[in-house]
Amino acid sequence: MTFWRRLLHAVLSLLVPGLGQAWAGQFRRGFYIFLATFSLAGLTVFTAAQRARFPEQVYGLSFTVFLRLTVLAFLTLGALLLLYSGFSRRVPQDEYTRRMTFLGFLLVVVLVYFPLVGPQLLEVAMPPAGSRQLYGTLLMTMAAVVAGLWWWNIVDAWHVRPDEAQMGWSGLIALTLVGLLILGNWIVEINVPKAIREYRETSRILGDILWPWRAAFDYRASELRATARIQAPCPPGSQPPPVNQPRDDGPWVVVEPTCGQLSTRDDKGRLQYGTLLTIRGGGFVPGKKVKIKWENPIGNEFTPRGVGPTEIEVGPDGTFETQMYIPDVVIPDIAKGPQIHKLHVVQPGALRFTGTLSREMKLALQAMLVSIMMGFMATFVGMVLAVPLSFLAARNLMSTLRVSMQGLLGGVLGLSLGGWLGLQAAHWVSRQMGGLEQAPVAVALTSAVLVGGMALVGFRLMGRAQERLMAHMPAAVRTAIRMVGLAALLAVPGALLGLGYARGILALAWPPEEVAVVEPKLMWAVSGLAAIVGLVIGYRWPESRPVPLGQGIYAVVRLIMNVVRSIEPLIWGLVGVIWVGLGPFAGFIALTLHTIAALGKLYSEAIESIHPGPIEAIQSTGANRLQTIMYAVLPQVLPHFTAYSLYRWDINVRMSTVIGLVGGGGIGFLLIQWIRQVQYQHAGLAVWLIALTVATLDFVSAGIRKRLV
């Protein structure tokens, strides 16, 4: 490695990080270095620019400004590096001293670069109008990191050889990690002081959530209460209610007079006092307050305001005395007869535990039950539907399923014909049963059996018929039929492809009117093209070559399952809510769909991992396909199926508790409602129930699984 070669690499890497390494033949290394340097710089600029859209928060940053900043940091760091290497050459070369020197150098960088050099760099790099202080340190650090990477890359390029890298990866990884940590901290807006400062506000709510059990029960307030009756207004000649008398066996109140005038409000809203009432009471708990409440003739109770004290201290003998004007109560003109009001004296006592569950607790329990059953039903139904699908998605079973080309062509025709006939039959049967609403399960099941069964029978019969028929035909006829059949078969997906292209791709850029014009043309064109391809394939297809039908089914089923599985159950929950409305049914649909796909995949992988030997053995006895599955495949996969189903049940009950967040019913629905209504104690109940259920389920399913294996 000549000096000039090394220099070339270093200079190249100075110009573009990673270029020197790539030039030396280490393409991957060069690429990583380039990627690390520029993604850090780019992310810094991008983040700063995004923040700049909210001007009061942040000063924006352009790439050129950051580049200038980085170049300056680069030069400063270079100078410091020179200093360091010059210095470290003069000190003794033992390990300890070298380490200490390096640490000292780092200290100098922190002490010198940031406070002294940093602001100067910012001054140069930033336009004067900008608010320099904001994010100054942050940008400085990022510039230093990028500059550090740049330096490291130049030194690396100097050392690099075509066959091996000299410096390892640690510098690149460490610097990139530091840069990403700083950026991440900035982007995620991690703010530790804020978290500490504002914790106190949270603790009360947290307490409600962590120990919400007071909300789980009903409490009765054991209050003391005494009531007096007063007539107001008091027209002449009226018969006022009798005055109460003190008693010994409980709380009492005596109000005098028992007939008087209401306070009123004048035009300016000022209160004009009515009759002054003298209120004496006794038999209350000494040393605690009583409250005075007013009840108007139609039974509304309220605390009177501005007419006298409403909270009075009770004396040591349990009595009190106070005065109050009759409050301003609006009596409608149409009110007839004497207007009798009530004055209550209330002394709240301790809350008494009644031993009954509160309404919310009952609601939460019920919703929990809904969730558990939702999870259970989804698992069961999903399991039942996933089993047949998983056989279609198992490569080892499907790869042996082959049909002759003629059989396929006849079969597809028969499939469509049989399916159509089955549909008609299903309609007829449904009408006989009184429609889908009358007997939903029966109609759905018979329809599925009719359509599926007749389609399959159609495939089988027509396929066989075609094969038999063709066996007697001259080769030219066979070829012609193969060509026509394949052309027709491929024309359908071709048309769909054309349509999809027009609606999916063209419509992205073109105005709708133009797309509408092109759409049918495109459809016919692609369909025709596909038909021509079909003609050619049909012409060239050797008579004896089988069509790997199983492989095709396998690919399609796998694809669908992967797509369904990769969409989260919460998203399926949204679909379910739109489909069947709010409630547990929507959640059930969501979980079931996801379960079918997830279990289908797991099941089919279990099938793919079985021993092929027993399958061959059973086939050798003359067993048919279904028998082979029942005798050679099922016994082998059943333990796996059970374990996976239990595992899925676990997941589904967990998921069912949150599917309610999007309206899928169950406990999650209740939880999100309570959170929105700021009822944290009730929300806490829901959280506890979920936690308890999940823990119990973990325990139970782990136990069952242990017993199975």
Binding site: I618, Q636, L638
Partner: protein, 254 residues
């Protein structure tokens, strides 16, 4: 009579396992196939009941062209051909009796069998088959709990259920010790002698070949390289045997 004509098998990965192999097996023969590991013995046996699809050539059994059969026809032929594997290939998680009964799948009503139901007379037949191989008392044990020799006897009982006219045995004793080997070969011999079942069997050990075979064919790299009668084999010295077979040939008794 089984006629193999110009049989060639090329696997999907391009391996040519059989090249233009032709021979004939008369009714009631005990034909032993010898050859090095990888010479195509398994492929040959599997082609006969089409566990492996032949690439070229015909296999005609009692005037039926097996290679030309459709699925239903193939099943009807297969149920009369027992296949014994080196690794037994029992279904481990079900009972011995169920394993034996599964040999009857080609005969019974398929719909009943899908629900694991077999008529009483079939169960009786299965118990008798187990009796034949001396495992009557193991009928309700899980197949995975048996020893190697017992598993192979169950596999033979399963083949007996097929009322086979032909038995294909692919190194049936290669995973067993010498004493067990003789006992297993004994069952095959008795079937061959007493019931006239044709047996085609691939073997490793010269003394087993000499003891049981009525005729021998040798394969090397997929080609038929040796054909000999009972007398030919008896006269075969160890050296000649090794020439056909290769260095790994050995005598069972040592």
């Amino acid at each position: 009579m089984l006629k193999v004509e110009h049989l060639t098998k090329v696997y999907d990965n391009g391996t040519v396992a059989l090249r233009d192999v032709s021979f004939t097996v008369e009714e009631g023969e005990f034909l032993v196939v010898i050859g090095l590991s990888g010479s195509g013995k398994s492929t040959l046996l599997r082609c006969i009941n089409r566990l492996v699809e032949p690439t070229e050539g015909r296999i005609v059994w009692n005037d039926v062209d097996i290679t030309a059969l459709d699925e239903a026809g193939l099943r009807r032929v297969r149920r009369e051909i027992g296949f014994i594997f080196q690794e037994f290939n029992l279904v481990e998680r079900i009972s011995v009796l169920q394993n034996v009964l599964s040999g009857r799948l080609g005969y019974v009503n398929p719909w009943w069998s899908l629900m694991y139901y077999f008529p009483p007379e079939e169960r009786q037949r299965a118990l008798e088959a187990l009796e034949t191989v001396g495992l009557r008392e193991k009928a309700h044990v899980r197949a995975s709990d048996l020893s190697g020799g017992q598993k192979q006897r169950v596999a033979i009982a399963r083949a007996l259920m097929q009322e086979p006219k032909l038995i294909l045995a692919d190194e049936p004793v290669a995973s067993l010790d010498p004493v067990l080997a003789h006992s297993i070969m004994g069952y095959l011999e008795r079937l061959n002698r007493e019931q006239g079942v044709t047996v085609i069997c691939s073997l490793h050990y010269l003394d087993l070949v000499q003891r049981y075979a009525t005729r021998v064919i040798g394969l090397r790299e997929g080609r038929l390289v040796y054909e000999g009668t009972r007398e030919d084999i008896r006269r075969l010295s160890d050296e000649e045997f090794k020439r056909i077979y290769g260095e790994e040939a050995q005598r069972l008794g040592g």
